[in-house]
Assembly symmetry: D2
Homo-oligomer: 410 residues x 4
């Protein structure tokens, strides 16, 4: 019987080929299909209107890059068995399965203190049970327990297929050319030495480009001050909703699984809460915000209305913390203008910080394989672009507050 | 005071410049921002995962092409006043303002018998009142009443900026290269003769390419059998919900404006219904489908669950109608399998037809301007690719029904 | 010993991988390197300044597509042995090895009556001798003698890798988006049935797009009237040079192998003439034209100067022959203006015709493989874009003559 | 009378519009058309086969970017008169008019000690005379004498249209994505402050990207060791030819203006030598190399044959000079193998160095305009990517010598 093969059009990578029953089973699963309803870049589309692509699309794209990477490594005579190949493909398909509504923007908010990767693992385990253990090896690779570390590094590492795809994809859908990476060249230069993923010497410039592109995407897109404003407004809306939530308030309950996480949820990820979590997606939040824009609580309705109509808080970004006096003054002015208590004004005027590191010197390195067989960290090679200074985390501080008058927002 | 200028990144066209207060007012308006929550291509992302771009993005893109077109025409000494220029730009920004959830897929379903263009007009009129008549000329151009027909043709005609943008955009986000058009070349070739929009002789091949690309997009994307299946399932879900809707059924009411259109709405677009309509977007429908997937009515919950998880009905497409016996047999089999009444089975097994014409000979023509000043319809030129045969509408017939067993769906 | 692998950057297809010693031997060969000095599109760069890519680049690109096609067919379990795979790759690398200076534009002019494919074969045979028969199978496939016709069809047929590459490449380098084809999708849809190359049903639209794109490239690029003018001027320069060539004329001899083909060459392709032919490339012609622009013969120097400086003859193109009277009048006017004899004026004023067929009904078909296993010609399927009318050759007639005054030429 | 307008297809920038008689006169001029026969990237096509684009194409592309830049600045109310606009466009069209065969690779070799910019000026002056002073302002801007320095900076400066175009173009034709710059965004961010060209704050990341892209192109393309090898071989071929040139040697004379520069030329650029120089292009050199590959002098014929057939010298590149002993040993080995004198072996074994600086701190800065009106050098802003370390010139040392045996060369 011939293998069933399916081809998916991807504007970023061209054609993605699915050609194994287990891959089909994963993709067909409601847990995977749910990713179709979670935007990859949360609120970034408020600044970059094209950035509405989904986690499902990203998962498929990362899977495609994995197929390419595995092919390259096999062409270079790196031993990878058929089982390992399938498992590492399943692992990349599932690597983000634990993402909730609005991905990173709401992580730790809805399900406090639980990282999306640990949710991913729990969901994989649930699926593995359903699939009678077909994902055993997948899970071992995903958790880094498997004897060939380079397989794990393809999923999670400085040059993993996750980053390679999201940078390409986010750059494509935002139209920010500064983020375009030469992923195809990097893939051609991947190799394995002592079971570690390495990059051939000739690929150094492409890796440098990749790191710089990542840096550019952080400052130009992910940490764009308007994106920060929108995402922090979203966080504050959910915080306020949690705070004032009572099941009897018909203006706040949604008659959906989301209610559970505002009310009865005790912070434990058990069978019930996992199942309810897997019913959530961006729609629940967007539906809620529309509803809450009519709520009698002016904090909740104010933030919700503004976010809904993209009348965002102003966000200032700078490299040192804002002065206490400045913040205090802002809060007093806004509290008085909107008639808010001291606690409430913290929903309209708030500060925070955000960090980005171009290259982390430390346990997660990019190793360069020289022609003579030596392996060296990219930061230690001659004439390195990636030096000490780019390895220092850069912290930026923000403050958000309502504008004096509504101005243009797109 | 310098003009405020804002630049938006568009992966399709590059940078879009907004540079007039009235344009900003339109874009900031909640009615326009609502388009952010309506997908341009309805369910097409079930086949083409990248196709999740929004009506707002399309409106901005069409506006950008209008800026280019107007610049070209002015460079060719076509008289266009500043007022006309602004008005035609406003008109293209607003041309789709009347679209409801899931655009064309649900047109005539939610708001029976009302075309989205007439809703667009009503909404423009409401905004015009709010803007103290600033949209008067815009509306005259939109409705075709203005004395320079070519301005209306730029908004609605065989070569309007709407089509030019949606073909480029849909092709870009689906990754279907067959739909790529050379819009930049067509724009360069636009001219005006006797107040009619025409294309210079040298642009004939680009226009041919454009018409063929449109044809390809119809057959490969818009009328793809899996897209048809998903969209018709959506239609049948809404029909069923309307049919069984009672306000007291807590499993069906949504506590959102959508309820109104299932219940009290009397078919008239008045102030109240227009206002409620403008609160709707894709989220309402997607939220509803998740909720209804738990409804006791097995028709509603069945279709909803399947659509939610992309376990779509099988769709067959052919050039002649399906035979009555074949349909009857299908219905009987499915009715028995799912224990359905004769009426109910029509929700699971249904037929219909769909039509596409590459080029309509008739009142809406593409006129070619020859070097000698003559104007001729594109279908009548020598060696035309666009001939009689491509002007005949092509009708295809479909049948949808549940598969024998769930199979692969992406 | 690990296989030597080399990767070449191609802006059109990405990375091209060379990974077999025989492929390296071919590419290193002076006969192949010569293709580096022959432009793929002859004089087209006079209209499309980017169109200066070379035959060598095209050969590498077609080779790359062959690698993709063979991979696809093998993935679909079509039996292709390692020997066959290598041979078909060699054959596509060498398919244009017989091209002389300015490719098609000068074919039959320098070496009268010899088609470039028969020169390709002779050169392959010479190389095969040098390589001790390593190209035996390559030659059998190239000449269509091998038992698996589909291998030959990949090199020469309606959907061969040659066309697939040159359309993509020419479209890329000219910037004519009308010529972009979805070659990756066509490659995915290739299959083999009864040893014939076929296309799966789902690929019909992509093939249609391919045929239309080819048609567009013919009318917009290959048969662009300014390109015709430049190429026919080149032909007439060489004709004139041949006519007046004497070895003692130091203003015409070039002291290069080109002299041989003007003088002693007797029309037979033997060892000596083949060897000299393989020393020719575009540079010889371009060098000659610069030299001849100073020649005392005003016909030769006139045409050469004009071509050198892109002061081209005016070219008119129409669908019916030019009237005898019109031609006669033109000739008389020009003869008088430039003081030319009746014979000489034919170098400045000349007519001809040119033909293109979108799809040839006949022995070279595109076969569509339907899901039910049936095979049908693409022109016979329902709702075909490729119909009778597109199968009729379209003849166009041209006349070239000096402009009244020099006007803009880029 | 309507303006004559011509549109040129450019695969890099789309459509280029020419719309002024003076622009047409420049483009039609034989001196400008000559650039059609000079490759932009000299021998780089030996490594990147697509890199065969011409100086003419680059000049048109830079002109196009100038049109965009001027439009942006005028939209920002920077006063630029029609005369200035035309002049700055003419200046960029002509900025490379002084390039000789193989551009930079042969600069200072053919015409010793004369920089191409001073040749450009001389040629512009000659054309200005022919055009009756129409280029007066053009020349003032080109030479930096005009009162608005920003106009000169658009032609020659850290962010000039020359660099912006060549990086985009070279990246496009090589297929090296690492060199892609976001030129459209930089153009949008250009402004003028105190008559100096500056970049708005929001453009910082795009400028950083541009500088890094330039750095990548240097190391990956312009200073690629195989490109160095080919270009230095070319230089040594010309040096050898000059050395042994005698007019009576029929194996070395070319019967072309090139002979003059080997023989009678006395180093002065006067009317005669300028006129002869303007008759030279790449073809003369390529024709010569083919001829010289048959020359009795084994140094000349050896290098010529190797270069012709891409059997290049091996090139080693490192960050410190090669040791004298190593060089001496290499020379002795090669002298003995090829039976060469001590002087002759210097043509086959030679060393040199090459330098690149990412950003020059010094008189030629990139100035960033902050929202508060302040202007700061890009290297001095907070969290700068462009720091001290990237401003240090990086020197690399190379040695070239014949390989032990011919190996793969593409």
């Amino acid at each position: 019987m011939p293998t069933v093969r399916k081809i998916i059009n991807d504007p970023v990578h061209g054609f993605i080929t699915i050609n194994h029953p287990l891959l089909f089973k994963i993709i067909e699963h409601p847990y995977f299909q749910r990713l179709r309803r979670i935007k990859q870049m949360a609120m970034a589309s408020y600044v970059y209107p094209g950035a509405v692509h989904t986690r499902l699309h990203h998962a498929l794209g990362a899977y495609h890059l994995m197929c390419c990477a595995v092919k390259e490594l096999k062409d270079k005579d790196i031993p990878i068995s058929q089982e390992e190949e399938l498992a590492v493909k399943c692992a990349i398909l599932l690597h983000d399965i634990g993402h909730g509504p609005f991905s990173h923007a709401l992580e730790h908010i809805l399900v406090e203190g639980v990282h999306h990767e640990s949710l991913s693992l729990k969901i994989m385990q649930a699926m593995n049970e359903e699939f009678n253990g077909a994902l055993d090896l997948t899970i071992d690779i995903f958790t880094g327990k498997y004897a060939k570390p380079f397989l794990h590094q393809l999923i999670s590492g400085q040059l993993d297929m996750d980053r390679m795809d999201y940078l390409s994809r986010d750059s494509f859908f935002t139209g920010v050319s500064e983020g375009v990476i030469g992923y195809d060249r990097i893939l051609k230069m991947l190799a394995v030495k002592d079971n570690q993923l390495v990059v051939e010497e000739k690929g150094v410039h492409s890796v440098e480009k990749f790191l710089i592109a990542r840096r550019q995407m952080y400052w130009q897109v992910y940490l764009h001050k308007t994106v920060i404003s929108a995402e922090k407004m979203l966080v504050h809306i959910l915080k306020r909703a949690k705070e004032i939530f009572v099941e009897t308030d018909k203006n706040i309950v949604l008659h959906s699984p989301l209610d559970y996480f505002f009310g009865k949820f005790d912070g434990k990820i058990d069978f019930k809460s996992l199942n309810l979590f897997c019913q959530l997606d961006d729609n629940d939040i967007e539906f809620a915000i529309k509803k809450w824009s009519q709520h009698p609580d002016s904090v909740l309705s104010g933030l919700s209305t503004w976010l809904l109509n993209r009348a965002l808080l102003k966000c200032k970004l700078q490299t040192h913390p804002f002065e206490e006096d400045y913040i205090k003054e802002k809060k007093e002015k806004i509290a008085s203008k909107f008639n808010l208590t001291k606690e409430e004004v913290g929903y309209f005027v708030f500060t925070g910080d955000t960090t980005n590191t171009t290259y982390q010197l430390g346990d997660e390195n990019i190793l360069i394989l020289f022609k003579n067989g030596q392996v060296q960290d990219i930061s230690s090679i001659e004439n390195a672009l990636i030096q000490q200074t780019l390895s220092t985390p850069v912290k930026k501080f923000y403050i958000c507050f309502p504008k004096g008058q509504t101005t243009v927002n797109i």
